[in-house]
Amino acid sequence: MLARPGLPDFEYMKAESPQDVFRLLEERGGEVKLLMGGTDLFVQMRDGNESAGILLDLKYLPGMKDISYTKKKGIKIGAAVTLNQLSAHPDVTNHFQILSQSADTVGNYQLRNRATLGGNLCNASPSADMAPAALVLEGEVSLSGPDGERVMALDQFWVGPGKTALKEYEFMTAVCFPNPPSGAVGRYLKLGRSKMGDLAIVGVAVLGYPDPEVPAGIRFRIGINSTAPTVYRVPQVEELLAKAPLSDDILRQASGEAMKVSAPIEDVRATVLYQKKMVNNLTFKGLKEVWSQLINS
């Protein structure tokens, strides 16, 4: 049935240390939901899909809102960094432009004041706008659990719609991105039904960089959302593009391959056929734009 008028009653708690989190999860396990920006969780609670006796806020744990950058290691972004912070932070805009570009496509400005990078990735929505860029930047997530910290490549992190590899009691503390290869150019193309505030019907992130080792002279990484149970890369397409000198025909062929890999489902937003065609067209457009920019620079 329909969403309720407001949120159901819950208790709000702020975690001061990871130990707080583990202790509470152990004691009150089933009742607890971990809270980041809440931009999805609150909606789900209102819709009756999620319930929680306690919302445990992780945003104030040490380091969760920090961004640190080094030339050697790349960037580490706290899981609770908001999308508006990502959009404007000089280390992000200078070195990981595709991240801030992706952040700008999410919802609207007000929502991006609350929505976090960690939340967007942990939510594991097939249409997550941050995910294609995070994938092509080959990010790693830092996960904290009662047994300690572990690091996992993002392409291992999502296991299905709304499902991640997070173990019980585990939560994400940060996302690390290595510096992109020298000369890299990135682009995230999002197709929505309106220009602002929509979910991605299809979103394609393309990262390209010079690589003299391959016949194409350029390597591409492609991440796609909204058209499979999880956000995905298309390695076979990336290989195909590396193998031969680039041309519009090759780009078109590659886009066609990406379309074949895509597996959208029919929903209220778009038909299967349209979504597949859009994977094709946006992939081509993204590749073409990145390629042109690489040639011109």
Partner: protein, 781 residues
């Protein structure tokens, strides 16, 4: 009387409500505090589109702590309605749409009401449902209202008991059958338009309080507090003076807050908990499933012209999908019937305009009331016919459009308009003659035009009343019963009063909130009728007050009224050049010589307006002397481009030109034009989507996408023409709805110009456009 040129009419004075709204001081229903005494409520809604109710068990829910009462329709046999009284307040025997209220739960908090609503046990026997109005009009369709024959109905509405047809309006004019043989070209087509939502920013909210004395007060977000009072009072057997409706400012109506939606539910719940106010506030999701929607329409159109492009005949069948209850919708089908040809001069017409029950949400008034629906097909088929005969769409329209004094489809003589001027101005504004390049190589560009007409669709005699009340310092309170929905009705009322009274605009205040206990009567804030009808009433009330003042002063000075006028708050004599300030005298009057007694007294002007000249139409032919009070006409021209890679449309320029009779406040017209263009776009791109079980699939802004600020046209060109009518203030008529009536077909015509594909069904989603483009490319290969 005053003969000089009006000084305030035609001025874009600042809105009366601008500061309140910009600073957040404006009060809407939900802002009114009621303290701890306030109870909250939720409605239990049907999960089926069509079912019989076998049983309702409220026992479990009643036992939940905090629950005060649960109301069902068991003891409420009376029905609600304006034109056809067919709608129960709570369904008790049968539900007819997904989301129909079956019970109401009152509790101390909203959350308790939510939980209690889940505990109400209702057994249903599911019945076959029907959604398509054409299917529903067939004799073998599942019958939604077996009791249709026993419903009370207005004398100009003709339901067909034993079927799902709630209204069948007929036009039989000239001889259509034989005209086809004289036609050089004939175009035929079927066009479909889905239900859409009004999506006001403020969802429907009401608070009701029933007191021991029998007094009932209802605070409601309402376009029409008087119609609301009338409908609820009649239904529940409450004397009108015991039911008080208070209607603060409305946060968006678009027709969705005309009549009664959910407010009667609040009243019934309040009656069950005497002495405690009960609040009912709909969620955004309920706004989509549980309030009225614009009706769907399937139109079959056949139209023919001679070799010169002169229209000879039209044959039309309109099937309006009226939804579960057609208490308002029947009049939409009727309005579509007597205006069925659109703004064209057609000698031979056969038309049937049907309103048909379906298991969809209740169809009702939405901006334009029947006109956006019929113009969607009409304005496309005119382009098709023009193309067949080899004429330019603008030229074709200039040739065939309706003109002043033409005998139009209902047999009435066309009221003064200049549609040609609108067409010429609109086409010029988008450089109609010029084929322009798209802004990028992956795009195609096209231009389209569409014209419209619309009359206020209402009973023959809806009245307006106004009171003009002076204060000691000669400031003025204007009291009206018409609502401020954002359209600027109060501003126009203040302007008219100030102009007539000869006082500064700034010294006039329009009293609100509207309150049926104090405000003068107004039929409804619908049909773009306030500037015209309420404007006439305010003008009359101000004239009355003015006469009272001049009589007192004339008497005082021993002069003739005709030699006096009021300017800038001073009574002036042309003859003696004497001056008398208004302040004090408008309350205390003026003393006689040597204070031997006094003259005058508190000045209160009253005025009303009611059209008295609308006549009946023949039920078999739809012909009569005067079907409506007047028509407003206009033209919209669109310059757009299509992204061939995504199917997305972008409107580059939309030019809207309407004949407003007389522009009282040009800025307010422009804001209507801008809002209408954007609203019209949204109406072209979105629809309510249902699954096979009649459930709304997109009941929120997640998946019901209306244009955002980023989507609005790059340019909106607004203009107007002034051909005054006889019965409007300074010749003015309304333009609030008209500005979005033909936007969708104008877009469709431009789209055809750009890519050569005609889309007969709304919405124009990027998905649909893209796949059609591909199909065309494949076909042409």
């Amino acid at each position: 009387m005053k003969n000089s040129e009006p000084s305030l009419i035609g001025q874009s004075v600042r809105r009366t409500d601008a500061i309140d709204k910009v600073t957040g001081c404006a009060v809407f229903v939900d802002d009114i505090p009621f303290g701890p005494n306030l109870l909250h409520s939720r409605l239990v809604r049907s999960p089926h589109p069509h079912a019989l109710i076998r049983s309702i068990n409220t026992k479990k829910a009643e036992r939940l702590p905090g629950v005060r009462t649960i109301v069902t329709g068991k003891e409420l046999s009376a029905r609600l309605g304006l034109y056809l009284i067919d709608r129960p307040i709570f369904a008790s025997e049968r539900v007819r749409y997904y989301g129909e209220p079956v019970a109401g739960v009152v509790a101390t908090t909203e959350n308790i009401a939510v939980e209690a609503a889940k505990l109400v046990e209702i057994e249903y026997e599911v019945l076959p449902a029907v959604y398509d109005p054409v299917e529903s009009a067939q004799p073998d369709a599942p019958l939604l209202h077996p009791d249709l024959g026993s419903y009370t109905v207005a004398n100009f509405i003709f339901p067909e008991p034993g079927t799902n047809i709630s209204e069948n309006f007929k036009i039989r004019k000239g001889d259509v059958e034989t005209c086809w043989s004289d036609c050089e070209a004939i175009a035929e087509g079927q066009f479909r338009l889905p239900p859409i939502e009004h999506v006001p920013l403020e969802t429907h909210t009401s608070i009701a309080l029933s007191e021991k004395s029998g007094q009932i007060t209802l605070w409601a977000s309402s376009q029409s507090p008087f119609a609301m009072r009338d409908m609820i009072a009649q239904c529940l057997g409450i004397p009108h003076n015991k039911l008080r409706v208070i209607a603060p400012l409305v946060g968006g109506g678009f027709g969705g807050k005309a009549g009664v939606t959910m407010e009667a539910c609040a009243v019934v719940m309040a009656q069950a908990v005497e002495g405690r106010p009960v609040k009912l506030r709909l969620t955004r999701e309920e706004e989509f499933v549980g309030t009225s929607v614009r009706q769907s329409l399937v139109s079959d159109i056949k139209v023919g012209c001679d070799k010169d492009g002169t229209l000879l005949g039209m044959e039309l069948t309109y099937y309006f999908g009226g939804g579960a209850y057609n208490d308002y919708g029947v009049n939409i089908a009727r309005a579509a019937g007597y205006s069925c040809t659109g703004p064209y001069d057609v000698p031979n017409v056969k038309a049937d305009s049907l309103c048909v029950y379906t298991n969809h949400p209740v169809g009702s008034a939405m901006r334009g009331f029947g006109m956006p629906e019929i113009h969607w097909g009409l304005e496309q088929i005119m382009d098709q016919l023009a193309e067949q005969i080899g004429m330019d769409p603008v030229e074709f329209r200039l040739k065939n459009c309706v003109r002043t004094d033409d005998e139009i489809v209902s047999g009435m003589k066309m009221t003064p308009i200049d549609l040609e001027a609108c067409i010429e101005k609109a086409s010029k504004a988008i450089k109609w003659e010029k084929k322009e390049k798209p802004t990028a190589p992956n795009k195609k560009r096209g231009k389209g035009i569409a014209i419209m007409w619309k009359a206020p669709a209402m009973p023959p005699n809806p009245g307006s009343a106004a009171v003009v009340r002076f204060n000691e310092d000669a400031t003025v309170n204007v009291e009206v019963g018409g609502q401020e929905l954002g359209q600027g009705a109060f501003t126009v009322a203040a302007q008219i009063a100030a102009e007539m009274l000869g006082v500064p605009y700034e010294s006039v205040t329009v009293s609100y909130p509207l309150d049926t206990k104090y405000s003068p009567y107004e039929w409804q804030t619908v049909a773009s009728r306030l500037t015209w009808s309420m404007g006439n009433a305010v003008k009359a009330a101000a004239a009355d007050a003015r006469t009272q003042i001049l009589e007192t002063v004339a008497d005082h000075w021993d002069e003739e009224i005709d030699d006096l006028t009021i300017e800038d708050g001073l009574v002036i004599s042309f003859k003696s050049e004497r001056e008398q300030p208004l302040d004090k005298m408008v309350i205390y009057g003026l003393p006689n010589e040597d204070f031997e007694g006094w003259k005058g007294g508190p000045v209160i002007g009253r005025g009303h307006f009611m059209p008295t000249y609308v006549t009946n139409l023949d039920p078999e032919t739809g012909q009569g002397t005067r079907a409506v009070v007047h028509y407003t006409v206009g033209a919209q021209a669109v310059d757009l481009e299509v992204d061939l890679e995504t199917g997305q449309l972008e409107v580059l320029n939309i030019a809207s030109v309407y004949d407003v009779g007389r522009a009282i406040n040009p800025d307010l017209i422009m804001t209507q034009i801008e809002g209408g263009a954007v609203h019209g776009m949204s109406s072209a791109f979105e629809e309510l989507k249902f699954n096979e079980s009649g459930e709304v699939l997109n009941p929120s802004f997640v998946d019901y996408r209306i244009a955002t600020i980023a989507d609005i046209p790059r340019k909106i060109h607004g203009d107007y023409v002034e051909t005054p009518i006889d019965d409007g203030p300074w010749g003015a008529r309304g333009v609030g709805e008209h500005v979005m009536v033909q936007t969708a077909p104008a877009i469709a015509n431009a789209l055809y110009d750009a890519v050569g594909i005609r889309f007969s069904d709304l919405p124009l989603s990027a998905d649909k456009i893209y796949l059609a483009l591909e199909e065309k490319i494949n076909r042409e290969k």
